[in-house]
Each structure stands twice: as C-alpha cells, then as structure tokens.
C-alpha cells in the first residue's frame, strides 16, 4: 500500500537530515563529503520538483506523520508556495555546493570541510522543514535547527571578523526565534492547539481579542528579525560579508525568504483574519517598515565599499519589496511577493556565485580591488552584469517580472499606490547606481592588482553554475508560467478567490 512515492513529502526533510551525520564522518579531506552532500542535495531537488508536479495537479498535499490524525498528530501541509520554496532551497543548496567545489578550499581548510558540509545539509533540512510543516511549534524547532547550523557556517569564514558577525547573528536569531515562540505561546493559550489549520478555525471564536493581537505582534517581530526586515537587518550584511563565499551564495538565495514564507502563513492562514480592526494597523506598520527597508537598503548599498556588503544591503531592499507584497493583503500582492521570492533567489545566487569566483582569484571582495577585473575574468563579470540587470529589473529578465507584478498589485490599492510605485522606481534607480559602480570599476579602471595565478578566469564549476543561473534569470523573465501558476494557486488557496 505505502509506496515510496507516498512518502516523498517526509523524505524531502529526512533525506538531508539523515545525510548530515554521514557527511560529518566521511574521510577524504572535503572531496568525498562534498560529493555525498551534492548527491543528497540533488536528490532533494528532484523530490521537490516531483512534489511540485503533484501539487500543480492535485493541490495541497497533506501528510500525517506516523499516521496520527490532525490535530492530535503533526501534519505536513505542502502547498504551492511550499514546493516553490522547497525548490528554491534545494536548488540554492545545489548551486552553492558547485560554487564550493571551486571556491571552498581557498576559504576553509579542508579538514574543517566535512563538518561544514554536514551543517550545510542541516540548514537545508531545517529550511525545508519550515516550509513544509503544518504545525506552528514545528516551525520553531526547524527554525532553530537551520539557524544553529547557519551560525556555525558563518563563523567558519576566512577572516576573524566572521566570529563577531556570527555572534551578532546568533543573538538576533535567538531573539527572533524566542519572540516567535512567545507568539505561539499566546496562540496556544487562546486555542489549545498548534496545528495551523486548527488554529485558524479556533481563533474565529476569540477573534479581535488582545492576546491574539499580541500574539500576531510577537510572531511578526520574531519573523521580521529572522527575515532581516528593516530595522532588524543589521546582522545580515555582516553575516554575508564574512561567511565563506559559497555559503553566502547559499544563504543569500534562500535563508531570509523562509521566515517571509512563515509570515505568509501567519498573516493569511493563522491570525490574519482574526485581528479585526487591528489587522490593518499591523499590516500598515509592516508596510511602512518595508518601504523604509527598500529605500534605506538601496541607499546604504550605494555607499558600501565591499561587494558582498553591497549585495547584502541590496537584499535588505529586496526583502522590503517582498514584505510589501505580502502585507498588501490582496491576491495580486501575494502573487507578486511569491514570484519575487523565487526570482530574487535566482539573481542573488548568480551574483554571489560571481563574487565567489572573484574571491577565488583575487582573494578580495573590496570594490576598489576589482579594478580591471572585467578584462581578466570576462565570463564571470559578464555574468555578474547580466544578473545585475535582473536585479535592477530590466525587461526580459526575471527581475522585471517581479517588479511588474508588484507594481500592478500596488496600483490596485488606490492613490497611495502611485506614491509607492514612485518609491519603487526610485529604489530601482538606486540599484542601477550600485550595480553600475561595480561595473565601472571592473571594466573602465586600469588594472591595479596583479593576479598571481596564470589562469585568470574562474574555476569551471563556478562558471557553469553562474551561467546556468544567469540563463535561468532570462528564461524565467521570458516564460514565467511555472512560477506564476504556483504563485497564483497559492493566492487562490489562502485567499479563496480565483483570479
């Protein structure tokens, strides 16, 4: 009766989770563990895609752990946005691992690598767990599994500044998770259940009460800290700058989007409808923060002097776009946010892959050290420039699709929408400035540094990943149907409107 096919929803979590300890003890100074981690990631990626096909055909997949009926047992509930995120996470992991093949030896000594790859798989298992589970407390546990492993990975950066950066990340991350736990506590007090579907049904009886409002506030605060929403973003640029470059590529693509996914669940499926008059207050506050996030994030990115830091602050801005879409509370807004979560992963993974290639060859990611790098590493920098176009939102790229849907969603809300659209365009112009700043130094400044190695182009594995991601940026910019259909059916699922 029970075939392996029926068990895929749980395998997508347990496969990387079980592979992690094996990777930790494998011999081979990093190469064998790398191979094993890559195979585990690739299998997870395939499972995620097969789940996506199933969700597109039959809708949300419920899975009862140990066959205990909900709400007594824990359920996995895999909806359209869950599979989209699972594809992003496992895909980012796979891309990051191929970047590691060429770039890890330079930054992390080989004896440390098996443990690093074990943490890598734990992060992936935790993040996928968060997006697939249907239990509010389970989210907390998976969040901590992935976060604890993330702190270790950041602390392994080549520079000693990685250690304080990791500490800062740990303090903020623990605060975020604990605030989330407080929110879950208040919800449990009011309803006596932790199952998300059950919570939503039972909250209807106690809607519009103070504890539910406080729970909503704590949940949003905790997720905002985890997701690096302005003004709780301070840990993120630091962590990305000092983490090993392949790790930064992996994290930048997925780790801050997963808390935003939980935000979607909380706002739309759990407390959102039960806040009464306070609902607008909460989403209004979040919208204000998100607008400040993309203006301030882009502005700081312009003035940053380290390439990884520029991209980190640019992520702060992009998180702003996503939260804005989520908090609009409309079907179009949620669709736009979901699409942007996917597209942003594509562009940031490509940009960080290019940065990792630069770091492998030059040992630095300071912009002033990159003078003339465009001539030394033409393929890498061309890839960087094209992914940069996607980040800015030039037509025919994935970034354009995100901005197009976001602006369309914003214009629906009336006169305020026009003002917000102007701000988004302004922030996109700032993106032009900070990407151009890098391009200018890379192509139009005379070469200052001598690259000691005779080979100047990046390692082949990084180039392949970089160009696959760049091409994917164009592919999903021209034919976004796959992402769109998943994003739309998520919006239909949680808002109950067909559009």
């Amino acid at each position: 009766m029970m075939s392996l096919y029926d068990q895929l929803p749980i395998l997508v979590i347990t496969l990387p989770l079980l592979a992690a300890p094996v990777v930790a003890v494998l011999p081979g100074r990093g190469k064998l563990p790398w191979l094993f981690a890559t195979i585990a990631s690739a299998l997870t990626f395939l499972i995620a895609i097969s789940l996506a096909c199933r969700v597109m055909e039959n809708g949300t997949i419920p899975y009862l752990l140990g066959n205990w009926e909900a709400p007594y047992g824990i359920v996995l509930s895999i909806g359209p946005l869950s599979v989209l995120m699972a594809i992003v996470i496992s895909g980012a992991s796979l891309a990051g691992l191929f970047v590691s093949l060429g770039g890890m030896d330079k930054e992390v000594p080989p004896p440390h690598q098996p443990l690093l790859y074990a943490c890598w798989l734990l992060v992936m298992a935790g993040l996928i767990g968060i997006v697939t589970t249907g239990d509010a407390f389970n989210v907390f546990v998976f969040m901590e599994v992935s976060s604890l492993a993330s702190y270790v990975m950041v602390a392994n950066g080549p520079n000693r500044q990685a250690l304080p950066a990791s500490f800062k990340y740990l303090v903020t991350g623990t605060f975020g998770a604990t605030f989330y736990l407080i929110g879950v506590g208040y919800l449990y007090m009011m309803t006596g259940t932790l199952n998300m579907a059950d919570l939503s049904a039972r909250l209807a009886d106690v809607a519009d009460t103070m504890p539910v409002l406080i729970a909503g506030g704590f949940l949003m605060l905790g997720l905002g800290m985890k997701g690096a929403l302005f003004p709780m973003h301070a840990w993120m640029p630091n962590a990305y700058q000092f983490a090993p470059s392949p790790v930064a590529a992996f994290f930048a693509a997925c780790s801050t989007k997963v808390p935003l996914f939980v935000m979607v669940r909380v706002l739309y499926e759990i407390v959102g409808h039960h806040l009464g008059s306070y609902g607008e207050l909460l989403s209004g506050m979040m919208m204000t923060l998100s607008v400040i996030a993309f203006i301030v994030g882009s502005l700081i990115a312009i003035y940053s002097e380290d390439l990884k830091r520029v991209l980190g602050y640019s992520s702060v801005a992009q998180i702003g776009y996503m939260v804005l879409g989520i908090c609009l509370g409309t079907s179009a807004g949620l669709t736009a946010a979901s699409i942007h979560m996917f597209n942003h992963a594509l562009m940031k993974a490509a940009l960080f892959a290019a940065v990792a290639a630069v770091v492998v060859r030059t040992g630095s990611s300071k912009i002033e050290d990159l003078a003339g790098i465009g001539k030394k590493m033409p393929l890498t920098m061309l890839g960087f420039a094209l992914a940069g176009l996607s980040l800015i939102g030039v037509p025919l790229t994935a970034g354009f699709i995100s901005k197009w849907y976001l602006i369309k969603a914003i214009l629906e809300i009336g006169p305020l929408g026009i003002f917000l659209t102007i701000l988004i365009l302004l922030s996109s112009l700032m993106a032009v400035v900070y990407i151009w700043k890098v391009i200018e130094v890379a192509y139009f400044k005379p070469t200052k540094i001598e690259i000691p190695d005779a080979r100047t182009e990046a390692p082949v594995s990084i180039l392949i990943v970089l160009w696959i991601l760049v091409l994917a940026n164009f592919w999903f910019g021209i034919d976004p149907e796959f992402v769109l259909s998943l994003a739309r059916s998520e919006a239909v699922d949680v808002l109950g409107v067909s559009k």
């Binding site: 407390f137 546990v141 901590e144 604890l148 500044q161 250690l163 500490f167 998770a177 736990l181 449990y188």
Partner: protein
C-alpha cells in the same frame, strides 16, 4: 483582575525585560549570553505557567484508567523540554564562538573588538 494572581506572569515579564536589557546594554560577550539565557527562561516560565490547572496534579500516567483526575496539561511541558534543549544548544554554540573570539582577538569586550576591526 487579580494582580497578585498573575504572579507568574509578572515574573515572566520581569525576566524577559532583564534578559533583553542585559543583551543590549552589556559589552561583554559572556554577559550578553547570560542575558540571552534569562530571556529564554522567561518564555519557558510563560509556557509552564499556562499549563497549570488549579488543584491539578502532575500529568503522570499511573497505569490505572483515570476519568475524573485533574492534572496539568502535559503538552506545553513537552514543548518547553524541546525549547530548553534548543536553548542549551544555542548557549553552548555562543560560548564556543566566544572562546574562538578570545583566541583571535585576545578580548571578549565588544568595544575592544570594534576598535581592532576599525584599525585593520
């Protein structure tokens, strides 16, 4: 509302704020970790307080079928058991990072480390 009856929740609030204050105000990494632990303990207290049923016993299964016994809700206790484990792992990791910081910088005061980073 009986203010004294909410004694546990006052302690929860107090510990929460003490923990937060310590994390933000202290310069020393170990002290900040202590603050973080206090902050987390406050939340454990919140969960443990909410599962208490007046006049109830501990939720221990004795083997005899019980129908009329009053006992505390075991679920929050189990949740907090998990959260305590997570908290310990976080604290241990934080201390390990502090040890590495001390090895690299020779100090665990944030202001010293900032100064050293600015110079480099």
């Amino acid at each position: 509302m009986n203010l004294l009856g909410l004694y546990n929740y006052w302690v929860y609030l107090f510990l929460l704020l003490v923990g937060m204050y310590t994390v933000f105000a202290k310069n020393n990494y170990v002290k900040r970790l202590i603050g973080l632990s206090i902050f987390q303990s406050a939340v454990f207290l919140l969960f443990i307080s909410m599962d208490k049923v007046a006049g109830g016993t501990g939720p221990i299964f004795t083997g005899n079928p019980v129908t009329d016994a009053v006992f505390a809700n075991p679920l929050p206790q189990v949740l907090i058991l998990t959260a305590i484990v997570v908290g310990i792992a976080g604290t241990a990791l934080g201390l390990a990072i502090t040890v590495r910081i001390r090895e690299e910088y020779g100090s665990i005061e944030e202001s010293d480390i900032r100064k050293m980073d600015d110079q480099s």
